[in-house]
Each structure stands twice: as C-alpha cells, then as structure tokens.
Symmetry: C2
Amino acid sequence: MTDGLIKDLAAGIPKDAIVTDVDLLQSYRNDMATFCPAGTPKVAVFPRQTEHVQHVLRTASKHHVPVVPQGGRTGLSGAANAIDGCIVLGMDRMNRIKEIDTANRIAVVEPGVLNYELSQKVLEHGLFYPPDPSSWDISTIGGNVATNAGGLCCVKYGVTADFVRGLEVILASGEMLKTGRRTAKGVAGYDLSKIFVGSEGTLGVVTEVTLALLPQPSEPRTVAALFPSVRQAGDAVARIIANGHQPSLLEFMDQASLRAANAYKNFGLPETAAAMLVAQSDAAPEQAKADIAGYARIFEDAGGFDVAEAEDKEEGDLLLAARRESHFALERIGTGRLIDDVCVPRTELAAFVERVEAIATDVDLLIAVVGHAGDGNLHPNVVFEASDPAQTERAKQAFADIMAVGLELGGTVTGEHGVGMLKREWLAREIGETSLRVHRELKKVFDPQGILNPGKVFTL
Amino acid sequence: MTDGLIKDLAAGIPKDAIVTDVDLLQSYRNDMATFCPAGTPKVAVFPRQTEHVQHVLRTASKHHVPVVPQGGRTGLSGAANAIDGCIVLGMDRMNRIKEIDTANRIAVVEPGVLNYELSQKVLEHGLFYPPDPSSWDISTIGGNVATNAGGLCCVKYGVTADFVRGLEVILASGEMLKTGRRTAKGVAGYDLSKIFVGSEGTLGVVTEVTLALLPQPSEPRTVAALFPSVRQAGDAVARIIANGHQPSLLEFMDQASLRAANAYKNFGLPETAAAMLVAQSDAAPEQAKADIAGYARIFEDAGGFDVAEAEDKEEGDLLLAARRESHFALERIGTGRLIDDVCVPRTELAAFVERVEAIATDVDLLIAVVGHAGDGNLHPNVVFEASDPAQTERAKQAFADIMAVGLELGGTVTGEHGVGMLKREWLAREIGETSLRVHRELKKVFDPQGILNPGKVFTL
C-alpha cells in the first residue's frame, strides 16, 4: 500500500472503493470470452460517483497506467479482460436510476444499472426499453453502451445505439465530456455520443446515460414452426421480410441446437427437424393476430410443419423457451465452446448456415447455430473438448472459417458481441487499412496516452 | 484557364464538369440561409463518379484550396455557402439510385439523388424511406446526410441518421473510407458513419449512401383541432405522449401562422384560435381509427375546439395543407425572415411558445411559430422588413433570444437545420469548451489541412 499509484488513488476515492488484495483481484481478470488472454490487475477501484472516475483517470494518466473499465463482465470477446498491472475500473456501484421522465420518454441512469432493472422500472411507468441481450439480468447499461448490445428485440426496435440520446463521459485526462442531449432531435455539432457507443471502453468511461424510451407495446403473440431444411427456414424468413411484415422477434435454431435443448430440458422438439423458427408480433391485439396468422401461412408455404400459434403469453413463452435457454443448453454439451456472432444480409441466412454445416463436417466438431434470423445475426456455437488440444485447434479453425464465410457473404464478423481481443485481427480484415488508421487517430483524440483499455478492438 | 489549380482539376475530370465562368459561379454562392456571408468560388466542379471526387480533393489538398460541398443548396444555415476562392463541389450529378434490395430492405444511392425521387422509387417496391424535410422535392440525400435532415415523420420514425447503414466517404486527402455495412446489425469497430452524418461537409465528401428502408405503412388518418391558448395545445401534446400514443405526425401552428396561411390561400381557419394541432396515425386501419379517436378525445379534453377527423386521404391532406404550406405563407408576409429551429423537451412546448410571444412583443415584430410538436422541434419565423435596418437589427436580436430561451428550457439551438455559419457562436454556448476542442481535433483526423468547408459549424 506504499505504492505511489495506490496512494494517489486513495487521495481521491474512499478506501472501501479500492481493492488490492491479490486473491480478490483474481475475480476481476475476465469477462465471459473463451481464449482471450487476461492479465492480473494491480488494483481494482469501484467509484460511486463521477468525481471518483475523474480522479481515477487523472491518477492513471499521471502514472501512465492502463485502465480497464468493467460492467457486469458478461462480454464474449475479452474486451473487459484485465491487463497486467492495470487499474480495473468496476462501474457496477454507480447504479442509480436518476430519472424516469414519462412525459418526455427518457431515462437518465448511471452505467452500473442492470439492463433488467431498468427494463422493469420503466415498465412500471408504462414505458419500454427494448435492448434485451441474453445477459440482461446480469449485464449493465454501461456495458450495453460499450458494446452496443442487441438482443431479441432488434429486428423491430434496433440496438442500444438507437436509444442513446446523450452521455456523460470521462476522458483519459479526467475531463468530463457531455455528448448529445435530452431532446428528441438535435444537430448541434458532431454526433459524439455514437462514437462512444460500441467503443468497448477504449475512448472514455461513461458515467451517465440518457436513454430514449418507447411506449409499452402490447403483449406479444407467438408462432413457431419446424422445417425439413435450413433452406426452407431461410426462405420463410426472406418471405416474412419481403411481405412487409415487422415481427418484434424472429429467431432461428438449427437441428443441433434443437437436440441440445431436448437434452437439457426435454422440450420434446422433433429431432428430425432441420430448423425451427419462432416469430412474435407485439402490434395491437387485432393486428398481432393477423400478423401471426400471416407468419403461420408463410411458414406453411415455405414447407414448415408443426406450425403452432400460442393461445396466450404462457404458451408463447413455452414456444420460445428452447431458444431463450439455448445458451445454457449448449454450455452443457461440451467442455469448451466458442460462440461466433456473424451478421449476414438476412437473405443469406440459409447459405450461411449451410456453409457452417460444411465447416462442422470439415473440422469434425459439432457446431450448433442459433440466432436472430430477422437480422441475419447468427451465433454458431463451436462445441469441443477443452482438454483435447487437437479438438481445441480445430475449434479455433472453425471459429475463424465462420467469420471468413460471414465476410464472403457480405456480412460482418460481429453483429453484437464486439471485437474485444477475440476478433481483433478480423476487424482489420473487415474494415481495411484506411478505416483502421482512422480508428487509431480517433483514439488519440480522446486518449492520447493510450491508457484506456489498450489492445482491445485494435492494437495501437 | 492557365491557373495551376484549374489545370490540375482538368487533368482528372471531364471539361464539362468544370465551371469557371464568373457569372455562372454567382449561382453557386448561397444556400437558402439569411444573413450568412457568402464568398465567390474560383471554380465549381460537378463530378459524375467517385474517382472525380477523389481527384478534386487530391488537387485541393495539393493547392491548399478550400472545398465547399453542395447538394440542393436548400440548407437554412449557410453551411453550403461558398468561400472566396474555393472549389464548389456540386454533387447533384452523382444522382443514381444504384440498388434497391427489397429482401434486405436497403437502398444504395449516390448523394445527388433527390429525397423525393428516392421516396417515390422505394414506394414502388412497397417500401418506405421516412425522412421528409420540407425541401424533399429539391434537397438531395447527400445534403440530408450532411445535415441529418428530419421532417414531419420524425416523431415516429426518427431522422436521417437512423436510416444510414453505411457510407462511402472521400477524405480531404482523396482517400476513400468505407463506413458501416449493409447488414441490419454490426459492431465491428467504431461507428464512423454517424460522425459524418450531420457534419455539414466539414469531415469528408459522401459519394455513396446505404440506407435502411421500412415496409410501407398504411395510409395515414388525420385529425386536427384548434385551441383557445398555446398552453392548452401544449397540454394536448403532452397528454398524447403520456398516454403511450405514437402518432406518425404531430404538428403545431400558432395564431400568427394560421393568419398567414389564411392570407396566403384562404384556408378559412378561425383567426381567433391561438393554435392548431394536426395529428396522424399510420398504424393498420383499425388501429389508426382508434388512435385518431384517442387523439380527438385528448384534444377535446385539453380544451380544443373544431376537432375534425378526416374521412379520407384528401380530407386529411386538406387538414394538413395549411401546415405544409406555412413556409410559403410566411415567406409572403415580410421582405425578410429568419427561421429559427430550436428543439426543446416536448413538455416545454407551451412555455417555449409563450416566451417567443414575449420576445415578439419586446422587439415589436411578428414571430410566427410552426413546428414538429411531437418532437418539441419548433420553427419560430421572425418576420421583418429587410430594407429597414432597425427592424433587421431587432430581428437578429429576437433570433438570438429565441435560441437562448431554447437552451434555458433544456433544448438545443438546432433541431434539424444545422449550425452552418448562422449558429456557430451558439454551438459553442450549447456544447461547451471541452466538446468544442474535441470537435476541432476530430476534424483534424479527417481533414488535417482544414480544407473541407472551413469555418462552417465552428472556426478552426
């Protein structure tokens, strides 16, 4: 504790906000990514107010020490992994919902608020905060902003960025930058908010978020169908979009994930089906009924079978349960898992899944595909035995091959999980040299010393 | 024509794309703003393809000559005004709609495409491009991107930025930067697209835009009502939002603009009314009917009178006509006009209009207010005799006072018209020193010599 850095930190933040215990520090090394190196922090600090964050960043700047901001550490790309000797900046204690303004439909929150908590709170006011990553009960709004989190809602409602009106951000220097505004519209100056959304902690530390809210939609109605081939499921998705529908949810599971779901919680899904689609409409009740009937017709026309319309919310939840729990179902079938996150034009859904199937055959591993069919955002899960080095190597190969296919089909290597450390080399492949140079120069504007989460997204 | 700059330009673009005639150049000096200085360009160039734009910017960089990009020159803030000795870069000949992909609901267009043309074209495919600035029949998509144009649609559908998926941008160096993607989602790297949207030609020249489209909504239904006081109209707006409604249009006119409308085209609006509201719903027919009935009830509860529900589209157009034509109606009642563009939290609508009324009394001028009530984005029109220097001075004072009130009420000085030259000092007041410094440094990343539309938005 005689270390200059720790002493300087302690001069501006309460003692109980500073963790230097080596054992405790171990628990702040990782997010939930596989195969990403994680160092050991020198110290972890847990600010309770903006001024603490400013003090931490001023101190880090003075000592040239890297700072790794963390939310719920639910990320899947290693963006929140610690760096040896860094300051871990845990934002979860800044967790106040400061304001819910129903008349202007905005919420002002600190970054440590859980997505779930905010969503429930605004519901009490008849309002709706759409972004719903699978991790919503354990991930924070700050983390959601840092990764531009998506979820099942995106096909109709968009991603986190679409709801960020304004930010309070602390730059590497400790300076406070206010971006955006509370109003519905505004074009005064550059859109600085959106530079920070999805920047994975490399440009600044968000200490306050002003979010747009929507009126609460109707209870969604649900329909699900099974398909004899992925091609037919992909066709059904394309037809739904081409027919001008706007489902509030349109999810996909392939045969391997259906089987995993059955193994996990006997859902009784026919394991001969090549794919399942689940669609919802949250339009006003009469319209939703018509929508669901329309989706059902399209499912049948495209060759779907066991088309099941839910009678009520419980039945709808049941139809969606296998998809919602697929993350856990797939976790159980191997000791290792790499979750990919490619987003392709939605018309390429079937082509993409077929290519993934070919890769699975090639590497002789199970690859289960679930995802947000309506967005073309798919999550191939490469399952392997972590204790088997050969399998592990093949899994990594498959993971890379999947991204290559995504790019080949006009897609992106990451639809919602972010780049972190896991996809750093792939970012360069996707965006090219000019864009990468611009990224580096933008970072310099906000973080000239390069202390903010260095080595994440791209190398300096 | 022996000038080195012109010679170098001619080496890479066709002769008929270069205008040096002094008389002709006069017509490229201004956009539609009042009181903004405009210089005389040395040359105007009209590229037909991306390579031409690259050549122009390389040449400008070599000669250190400022470049002023122009679209339809319909802007209201002087952002497209020429600078003495500059190259005017007229983008209107790059006007191809390259692709409309119905299955993925995207359009790829060159910047010179008119908003109206694109909107009509996508309608033929059953699709919808919402942004609808009043200038839509003469403004270009490139200009819309540069100013992040809004319109009447915004209350439900958002602004241009919400529809930009990706851009091809030429930087000051002539380098091509591709931003964003075609897919519905994507988080690979920083969101570079949004930095350019609304940057008013100061960061790069957009040569291609990938836009998201929506399915075509139903024919909107319309209801209008008059109000004995602005306060009651404001109350009605607040109640509509608080009741969870999502009108597709919610427009406001004050007494002065109602009178101007009558004077322009005898609309027969009761001139004793303090305000009018017009609302639309474009939900599915049954829902729209219910919505409109709900708005009507709220209008009545808030003290509105002459509440009129349109029977069909023509009647709806009629109800909206006075608002749609208010720009032209107001143009006729004075020889000078300054159009403000403040956006306040929508609950502050009445307070704002009342403060504007007080300013009008103070400066002894007519100020007519129309605007997008549902967004809180209002356009006070300060009317004056341009030949009267004292009136002109008072008009400028009123224009500034209105912005000050906007900021005081938690709003922004510009909701959709942009900063340009007109509101440059006000930008600094709104965003503060740290943000302004960040703006300057961001510009340096994309335009290190400062040749791109210098002096617009902020001074270097």
